[in-house]
């Protein structure tokens, strides 16, 4: 049941990315809802859950993108895993940690996508992509992830829930 719900969440995220992301765009910068989901799964659960949700959402995203199948699968899976590993390195995952880790993972994932997605670019185009798309997008992703993380924490507190899931340490 829980697995089915997680798959449903991944499907809903990819569908939202394909249909509603334009509503969330700021100056033509779209948030990557899939990487946000993978990272949050890692932060709120563990690296295994982050990996599984990252792989699922990445695979679904790959099916609807022009690039080869496997790019998002690997990147999102890796992002989920690394976000999950953060919970081992800090005693408590705070909003600040979520912002920093999501920012770094978004930048890394974006750079990898940039290399794989675009044909060889000249210096000015590369600079434009990094300054105009990559960095704003990573900032947007991290801000959105932090907002959702805070919202989930508030809901957890109001319902008296302590942990999002059993931590498999």
């Amino acid at each position: 049941m829980r697995t089915a719900l997680q798959i449903l969440l991944c499907v809903a995220t990819v569908v939202a990315q394909a249909t509603f992301s334009s509503l969330l765009s700021l100056n033509n910068v779209y948030p990557d809802l899939c990487i946000i989901l993978a990272c949050l799964a890692g932060f709120l659960s563990n690296e295994y859950k982050g990996l599984m949700i990252g792989l699922t959402v990445g695979l679904l995203q790959d099916l609807l993108t022009p690039g080869g199948i496997g790019v998002n699968l690997i990147l999102k899976g890796l992002a989920g895993t690394l976000a999950g590993l953060t919970t081992h390195t800090v005693s408590t995952v705070t909003t600040g940690a979520v912002i920093i880790v999501t920012l770094v993972l978004s930048l890394g994932s974006g750079l990898a996508s940039l290399v794989l997605a675009y044909p060889p670019l000249d210096g000015s185009d590369t600079l434009h992509i990094i300054v105009g798309v990559l960095v704003p997008q990573a900032l947007y992703n991290s801000a959105l992830a932090a907002g959702i993380f805070l919202a989930i924490h508030k809901v957890q507190r109001s319902f008296g829930v302590i942990h999002f899931a059993q931590r498999g340490r």
Binding site: A18, S21, S22, P66, G67, L114, I129, Q137
Partner: protein, 295 residues
């Protein structure tokens, strides 16, 4: 000291008797002389009636105003209820109007595409756009036609206005179309007036460039750019856009230009996938390959 008797009692008793006598006499007069007594009473009753008129009018006006207030309250209540009902009706009608307007716009777009489809010298398949920008690194759309509908990779995608892009991935029931503004798309185009050919390619900024134009080409701002038909995805002569800016540095071998696309990629709702350069011959072929469904 003995208490003395009140002195007024005999007088009062006498007066009472007198009063009773007068009243009896009055009643007898009323009984036996009705006409005269009526006249007399009428004369006396006039001023009395005048005295009563004031309070009567007052009470009457209070009663009337109370009645009026009540009826106004009832009327207000009815108006309020009617107002609420009309508000609900207005909302319903506004929703209906919006739906019809949307349908009219869809019908208009559909009609344009349908008309183009029947007159275009090629076989096309109508597809609806169901998703956009699933990834941040590509300018792509998802259409609702796939391999089961006869769509293949590398097929061209157009609208009645001009070129949209190219199919790059086909799933069983959906396909991914890379838009002309994506750097991964390159098609051959030519300046319509001078017939000079070049390569049309998207840029990371989302613009469209025409590269490798001959150095002596008389290309000018505003010139129409069309497909050259040298590649297998688009037939010759499909509109791509207009030249917005021409650039040629002293060290460059070729000229290049920025192209304003004829299609607004952000407002696409329906497209045509070019399945064959040959026009649909029979009705059967048309129905199996490219007839537009109802929107």
């Amino acid at each position: 000291m003995p208490r003395s008797e009140p002195t007024s009692l005999p007088i009062t008793t006498g007066l009472r008797r007198l009063l009773v006598g007068i009243i009896i006499l009055f009643l007898l007069l009323l009984l036996f002389l009705p006409r005269q007594s009526q006249e007399w009473l009428g004369q006396v009753g006039g001023p009395v009636a005048m005295i009563l008129e004031g309070p009567l009018q007052g009470v009457s006006s209070i009663q009337n105003s109370a009645k009026e207030t009540w009826s106004q309250y009832i009327a207000h209540q009815q108006v309020w209820e009617e107002n609420q009902r009309l508000k609900v009706e207005i909302q319903k009608l506004q929703g209906e109007q919006n739906r019809l307007r949307e349908q009219a716009i869809l019908d208009r777009d559909f009609e344009k595409l349908s008309m183009y489809q029947t007159t275009a010298p090629m076989t096309t398949l109508y597809a609806r756009i169901i998703g956009r920008n699933v990834s941040n690194w590509y300018r792509a759309v998802v259409i609702d036609k796939g391999a089961s509908d006869g769509v293949h990779v590398e097929m061209g995608v157009i609208t009645n206005a001009g070129v949209v892009g190219r199919v790059v991935r086909v799933n069983p029931t959906t396909s991914i179309v890379l838009l002309l503004s994506d750097p991964n798309v390159a098609i051959t185009g030519m300046i319509q007036a001078s017939r000079d050919e070049g390569i049309i390619q998207g840029t990371p900024q989302g613009n469209i460039h025409m590269k490798y134009l001959p150095p002596l080409s008389p290309v000018q701002v505003g010139d129409a750019v069309v497909t050259s038909g040298l590649t297998e995805d688009f037939p010759r002569g499909l509109h791509i856009g207009h030249i917005k800016q021409v650039t040629k540095a002293a060290t460059d071998l070729f000229q290049s230009g920025e192209v304003t696309p004829i299609v607004d990629f952000s407002k696409l709702e329906g497209v045509l996938v070019v399945t064959s350069f040959q026009p649909a011959i029979s009705t059967e072929a048309s129905s199996s390959a490219g007839t537009l469904p109802s929107p």
